[in-house]
């Protein structure tokens, strides 16, 4: 193995990337764009649900009830609708997700100590969101009921509100979220996105870089020369690893500044792990590029092959521990999960070497296997 030949190939590769403005833009802009779009776009928070109310009662009491909804940060009050028909047409046009209907005689019945029934219509197309909305609605409604009860007791018995509260719900439950104290989905998806983007982008870039030479025919320069397979692959990959590592630093900065994610772990560990992961991701691209012949197929296979496992089987959307067995096996076979452990461990959990070294070892092993396979599968004397 001659370092001079590796350097020759790396230099040429870098010059080509640098001069081809389209490719250069792709190399540096795509990860950033993906980070912004997916980071904000994949937020699972259910907040500011647009809704309208139909108030057939129009009394002080009904307005009071409505205020409990419109004041909540989970709902975005869009105003009053005259009737169900008008409200439903707004729902049809996707302008609102939820309708609150207050029946006539709301105040009258309540004051008479009778039971009233209000109604909420929730858009059921987005099942997860709908369930969350239902939970909010029930909670607000229960809260209102308790308020009414408190007021009634206060009026009748002359008791202090705090005593009434202690009597009505003696056990109070205190919940505190660990790692992501504010329950901001930006914290978890925002930092987790580093894993997804840095799995896809380096793989894509590398696959295109190698297949490009096959398509243009310049790969024959390599085939016909005395450069060894290892020299070629190392020389070819080094620029892509460097670019990807740079990108990873940019994305990390974005997570810290743009998404405001805290970093609680060991920066050195994080940087070492990043190099390993980037080598792993370029290895995936390299391996794909050895198997296919056109840039179109390389792009398609790499994108599908990294995006779907990266999203579904890494623990990004659903914890690996709650997956069924086949999915769990799949998650353990792919590198995404290990990197996600490292990213979340470093950013949110503040874990160190003792917790994360296993994940790092697997990433290192993974890239060695991929690179080895690629070098072994790369032939300088081909069949077609």
């Amino acid at each position: 193995m001659k370092w001079s030949r590796i350097k020759t190939i790396s230099t040429k590769e870098w010059l080509e990337i640098w001069r081809d403005k389209l490719y250069l833009a792709m190399a540096f802009l795509i990860p950033v764009i993906m980070m912004v779009v997916l980071g904000f776009g994949m937020s699972m928070d259910v907040e500011k649900i647009p809704f309208v109310a139909i108030d057939y009662d129009k009394t002080e009491q009904s307005r009071d009830y409505l205020h409990n909804f419109s004041d909540s940060r989970y709902f975005d009050y869009q105003g009053m609708a005259a009737n169900e028909k008008q409200a439903e047409s707004m729902m049809d046009q996707n302008k609102i997700r939820f309708i609150l209907i207050i029946p006539p005689g709301f105040q009258e019945k309540l004051q008479a100590g009778k039971k009233v029934q209000s109604q909420s219509l929730i858009d059921g197309l987005f099942t997860y969101q709908s369930k969350v909305v239902k939970g909010y609605v029930l909670a607000i409604n229960a809260n209102y009921n308790q308020q009414l009860l408190q007021n009634w007791f206060a009026k009748k018995q002359g008791m202090k509100p705090s005593d009434i509260s202690a009597m009505l719900s003696p056990v109070s439950l205190e919940t505190r979220y660990l790692y992501n104290e504010q329950m901001s989905s930006l914290w978890s998806t925002g930092s987790g996105m580093i894993m997804l983007v840095m799995l896809m982008a380096p793989a894509l870039l590398t696959a295109l870089g190698v297949v490009r030479e096959k398509e243009s025919g310049s790969i024959f320069n390599i085939y016909a020369s005395t450069v060894t397979r290892t020299e070629f692959i190392l020389g070819k990959l080094l620029p892509y690893i460097a670019i990807s590592f740079l990108n990873l630093l940019v994305l990390t900065w974005m997570a810290l500044v743009l998404f405001g994610v805290p970093f609680k772990g060991d920066p050195v560990l994080y940087l070492v792990a990043s190099v390993l992961f980037v080598s792993c991701a370029t290895g995936i691209g390299l391996f794909v590029s050895i198997l296919v012949k056109t840039q179109a197929s390389a792009a398609l296979i790499t994108l599908l092959g990294t995006m779907i496992p990266g999203m579904m089987f890494s623990g990004l959307l659903m914890p690996v521990s709650s997956m069924d067995t086949p999915a769990k096996i799949e998650a353990h076979l792919l590198p995404g999960m290990y990197e996600l452990n490292i990213v979340w461990g470093s950013f949110l959990k503040g874990q160190g070497w003792s917790d994360l070294w296993g994940n790092m070892a697997i990433l290192a092993l993974y890239s060695m296997v991929l690179w080895g396979l690629a070098i072994w599968k790369f032939k300088k004397r081909v069949a077609s």
Binding site: K12, L15, R19, R212, S216, S218, A224, S225
Partner: protein, 655 residues
């Protein structure tokens, strides 16, 4: 003398397709060995196999005495080989400059820095690229790309160079330079060269050659030997009654073609006396005719070699003499271009081009890749607006009636634009509907197209599985369904075998001469230009000469004289001697030396004496008229147009 390359019964398969079928050849040190054949005949595969970058199925291959049968054994020979794959400049790096490209190849081959700089300087001077060394490769002209490719292949002083179609689509001046440089390198660096080409007229450049067809070698040997092995004669017949004459000749001879105003008759396996006798007796029936007999060229030889196998496959839309040829008015102006100019940004692709084509005329636009031929066609077909100038196509003005033009013309593009997943008939139907041919008429027209292209046997074959020649005729049929009076053909014959090309031309001549279709055709095959009535030679967007082939040739003959071609036993020594004696227009063609002279007899005497003094044996002497390539080179040089600068913003790199 040990052999550089020994190929023995080599076979190569791609899945189920046999690309090379038991090929054997051997190449001696210092030879320029040629592989000639159409696209897909197995040339490229063989070259890759020899370069050690492609595996093969069976047979033996020795390169430099080393058996090459595995990746490991192939590695051993690679240091001594320079390989340039097919496709001009495709193996170079477009974003890198000339300098950087060369450095990359040199460093890849471990050439020490000092040696690299020295050799780079030498090669760049020789190829006249020094002034452009910092220009990015993507901004070079075809000829410059070819030269750069050659430098990159030669930078590590290989003992064997393998060059796959290095001259395809390159302008004639660059082509001539290429051959000069190659023979210089072969001689001075004791190199051996294996070169492929699809131009038959380049055959005489080789010392030894193999003719390839469908994965097999048809013939092997020195160019002269191959020609001698096939006894055949060509007669050029001129007659007042062209069509009567063609009809009469067709009864006796199978190969009768119209070349402009002449008839070209080829006969095989016959003595010159018998041929002349037969010819005389037929021509007795044709008024005012005269003829002239020559020996066949390699393209004829190729057809002659294939002839026995293709007896029943010939296209026979021979001219019908009973039909008067005056059903159209030959003086109708069908295509007219006046100072057509097209600019792309600051780059002028077409610069004040003017010509006209009448009905029944075949007009050839000749030039290298990037000369502006396709842009002219795009303007004339209404696909592209001219920046300046005007023109008309069958009465419709270029600047105002693009749509009307499209309705009146047939257009066949470089890539044929057929649908590979549809059958022959489905393609025809589709095109008929696109051109809005009425349903009743369409059935008749499809029948006509099938018959014209001899495609009756293939109506339900998928186009993807048709051979190139048939595909080409189908594309022509598609372009003619709506009976256009003007036909545009953009490089319709690239890479097609000589028989296919000949059949195609037979159809075109019939269309022009019998139906009065005005045909504008572009090509970079110099030999094809002979079929045209009128030619325009294009270079760097300009028309540098115009006229009939005979007329253009005459102009060069008048200016430079004719060619004396001498076969000598020491070609390199002979050339050097002549150059020293200030015969600047002396060129090497394999084992022959060509020399222009306006006083043939006198010069020949002097030269023969000169060679005799140095004990160089002259084996035979021929006098040749200038070829169209000579014509092209002459007009380029007298116009002082350098085929170098090309700053056209090329299509951005593929992603």
């Amino acid at each position: 003398m040990s052999l550089i390359i020994e190929v023995n019964k080599l076979c190569k398969c791609y899945k189920n397709i046999e690309a090379i079928k038991s090929v054997s050849l051997s190449i001696k040190p210092g030879e320029i060995y040629g592989l000639i054949g159409p696209d897909g005949s197995g040339k490229s595969s063989l070259m890759k196999v020899i370069a050690g970058v492609l595996s093969y199925k069976s047979g033996q291959l020795n390169v430099f005495g080393q058996r090459v049968d595995s990746e490991a054994s192939a590695e051993i020979i690679k240091a001594k080989i320079g390989f340039m794959p097919q496709g001009l400049g495709l193996n170079l790096y477009p974003e890198l400059s000339i300098d950087e490209n060369i450095n990359f190849f040199a460093d890849l081959r471990d050439v020490p820095l000092a040696e690299r700089e020295e050799r780079k300087a030498l090669l760049m001077t020789m190829m006249q690229l020094t002034d452009f060394r910092h220009r990015a490769m993507k901004n070079l002209s075809g000829g410059m790309k070819q030269k750069l490719g050659l430098i990159c292949t030669l930078i590590h002083k290989p003992e064997l160079v393998i060059l796959d179609e290095p001259t395809t689509g390159v302008d004639p001046v660059s082509r001539r330079d290429f051959w000069q440089i190659l023979s210089y390198m072969v001689r001075h660096e004791k190199m051996t060269a294996l070169v492929s080409t699809s131009y038959m007229d380049e055959a005489e450049r080789f010392h030894t050659l193999s003719l390839f067809y469908q994965g097999k070698i048809l013939a092997q040997g020195e160019p002269d030997q191959i020609l001698d092995s096939i006894q055949g004669w060509v007669a050029l017949v001129h007659s007042q009654a062209l069509f009567v004459c063609v009809q009469a000749l067709s009864t006796q001879f199978t190969q009768v073609n119209i070349f402009g105003k002449a008839i070209r008759v080829v006969a095989y396996d016959i003595s010159r006396e018998d041929f002349e006798h037969q010819l005389k007796s037929i021509l007795a029936r044709c008024p005012k005719s005269h003829y002239q007999i020559e020996s066949i060229d390699l393209e004829d030889a190729f057809i002659g070699l294939l002839r026995p196998k293709n007896k029943d496959q010939t296209v026979k839309p021979a001219l019908d003499a009973t039909k008067p040829n005056s059903i159209f008015d030959t003086n109708t102006l069908m295509i007219e271009a006046q100072n057509l100019t097209r600019q792309f940004g600051t780059f002028t692709a077409v610069d004040q081009v003017s010509f006209s084509v009448q009905s029944g005329q075949i007009f050839g636009l000749l030039g290298a890749n990037g000369a502006g031929k396709s842009t002219v066609i795009k303007m004339l077909t209404g696909l592209l607006k001219p920046s300046k100038g005007k023109g008309q196509v069958s009465g419709a003005d270029l600047n105002s009636s693009g749509q009307k033009i499209k309705e009146n013309i047939g257009y066949m593009s470089q890539s044929f634009s057929l649908y590979a997943d549809l059958t022959v008939v489905e393609n025809l139907k589709l095109y008929g509907q696109i051109y809005a041919v009425p349903k009743k008429k369409l059935a008749k027209r499809i029948q006509w197209a099938l018959q014209m292209g001899t495609l009756e046997q293939e109506t339900h074959t998928l186009v993807g599985s048709l051979p190139m020649g048939l595909r080409q005729r189908l594309a022509l049929g598609c372009a003619l369904l709506h009976e256009p009076k003007v036909l545009f053909l953009d490089e319709p014959t690239s890479g097609i075998d000589p028989i296919g090309r000949q059949q195609f031309w037979t159809i075109l001549v019939t269309l022009a001469k019998q139906s009065g279709v005005a045909i504008l055709i572009t090509t970079h095959y110099m030999s094809e230009a002979e079929h045209c009535d009128q030619l325009a030679l294009m270079q760097a967007g300009k028309v540098i000469a115009q006229g009939s082939p005979t007329n253009l040739r005459q102009q060069v003959s008048d200016a430079l004289g004719d060619v004396i071609s001498m076969k000598v036993n020491q070609p390199y020594a002979a050339l050097e001697l002549l150059k020293k004696a200030h015969y600047d227009k002396a060129f090497l063609f394999g084992k022959r030396v060509h020399l222009f002279s306006s006083q043939v007899a006198q010069t020949q005497k002097k030269v023969l004496a000169l060679l005799h003094q140095q004990a160089i044996e002259v084996l035979d002497v021929q006098h040749l008229p200038p070829t169209l390539e000579d014509v092209f080179v002459h007009f380029l040089e007298s116009n002082k147009i350098q085929p170098t600068a090309n700053l056209k913003p090329k299509e951005s790199s593929s992603l």
